[in-house]
């Protein structure tokens, strides 16, 4: 896990000229090019495998009504649980996520799409959200470069639901847990149990498990 020079078979040392990525060329830091496809001019099938309707991710998307506000524990909470030292994105990210979760608990984006303006807080909340997002875009870099990429869509980007459907989140989290648990074993054998990276990973896994069990508990009852 230490930084090391490139080990290309040709024996080239150091960084190579960066390949043209699937990106917007004018971005200072490359952002994945985004193709806004409609209701998916896509394959629908997975190679030679037979795809049943249940296996199509679009079905996971259409089960978005299963997302319930109480179940959406923001990722910032996991960061709080797992890493007391804080993330590289800082407290602003957590504030942004908390505010987003707070708004969603009142009903989410759909009400704004309906054009209802229930109270001044919502209007103010939207402005706040946008201005905070702009701060994050300017300051944080990294993960929010993609939001900058989404920003090229202009106001249309607000129509994209920012919260993923619950079934999809479950699939992602379960898989991430499996992968990270195996990675933890490698960390322990490679750098030892007491290394701060191992401990950070362990705390993160525990936070993810807590979030998952909380969600399962709420779904059951």
């Amino acid at each position: 896990m230490t930084r090391r020079p490139s080990q290309s078979p040709g024996g080239a040392q150091g960084p190579r000229p960066q390949p043209a990525r699937l990106l917007l060329p004018e971005s200072p830091r490359p952002v994945a090019a985004l193709v806004v496809c409609g209701p998916q001019a896509s394959l629908g099938s997975h190679g030679s495998d037979d795809s049943s309707p249940d296996n199509d991710i679009r079905n996971l998307w259409t089960r978005a009504t299963l997302s319930q506000p109480e179940l959406n524990v923001p990722r910032s909470k996991i960061c709080d649980d797992s890493d007391a030292e804080g993330s590289s994105l800082g407290s602003k990210t957590r504030q942004w996520y908390s505010r987003k979760a707070g708004r969603e608990s009142d009903g989410g984006w759909e009400e704004w799409e309906d054009g209802e303006d229930k109270d001044g807080f919502r209007r103010e909340g939207l402005h706040e959200h946008l201005s905070l997002e702009m701060e994050l875009l300017e300051g944080a870099g990294g993960a929010f470069q993609l939001r900058a990429g989404l920003g090229f869509l202009g106001h249309l980007s607000l129509l994209l639901p920012l919260q993923l459907p619950l079934p999809l989140m479950e699939v992602m989290e379960n898989e991430a847990l499996e992968i990270l648990t195996k990675a933890l074993w490698s960390y322990r054998s490679g750098i030892g149990r007491d290394h701060f990276l191992t401990k950070q990973l362990q705390r993160y896994i525990e936070g993810l498990k807590r979030r998952r069990s909380k969600r399962l508990h709420l779904v059951t009852y």
Binding site: R16, Q18, P19, L150, Y187, L197
Partner: protein, 203 residues
């Protein structure tokens, strides 16, 4: 290579024409990437990357580390989201047998990925090393260098590579057309027994 059935990537799909993900899929992929980014660096180190690919693909350790070294073009020992996105597109193209289309649509990024030394030329050994990514068989590789090495230096520059992608794309489209025509004739043969059954019921 087959993606593990039921894994998150297995549910994603490429746009058939441009061989890229939709905005919604990218959003989901970004969330997934952040779930794996345990150290909050917006990157995956080699251990996390290895376990991720080990989980979702059937690749061996050597293949995974070859891919890691290929994508780690900054030589930082970590993979950012851009590289991750490209990898996912390559995996999905392979999963859905769209390698020819993918290489055609993204010939420049693919060429630069294969150009390990930055010499703007790809040797046969580089191609061979990555043939598990793009499913290029040995025979095809031989033909590639025989037919498209116009300069005769036993390496392909970008223009020669581009010609190759156009050629394979044409072949792929002809194959698709032929399969489509075969598909059209097959249902006509199936219909006759059905008509026979109907007519026998009537009389």
């Amino acid at each position: 290579m087959k993606l593990k059935q039921g894994s998150f990537l297995w549910y994603l799909y490429l746009d058939k024409l441009y061989c890229l993900l939709s905005v919604r899929n990218v959003k989901a992929l970004l969330e997934y990437f952040h779930l794996l980014d345990v150290h909050h660096n917006n990157t995956l180190n080699d251990v996390l990357f290895y376990h991720f690919l080990r989980h979702v693909t059937s690749w061996k350790r050597t293949q995974i580390m070859i891919v890691f070294n290929m994508l780690d073009w900054n030589a930082m020992g970590e993979i950012g989201f851009d590289q991750f996105y490209m990898l996912v597109c390559i995996l999905l193209a392979q999963q859905n047998h769209l390698e020819e289309q993918f290489i055609f649509r993204h010939s420049r990024p693919v060429f630069e990925l294969l150009d390990l030394d930055g010499e703007l030329r790809i040797g046969a050994d580089h191609f061979h090393m990555y043939n598990f990514l793009f499913n290029i068989k040995k025979q095809e590789l031989r033909e590639l260098y025989h037919d498209f090495d116009i300069t005769g230096d036993r390496r392909l520059n970008y223009k020669e590579f581009k010609l190759f992608t156009i050629f394979t794309m044409d072949k792929y489209q002809e194959k698709q057309k032929a399969e489509k025509e075969q598909g059209k004739t097959a249902p006509l043969k199936k219909k006759r027994p059905h008509r026979f059954i109907l007519s026998s019921k009537l009389f």
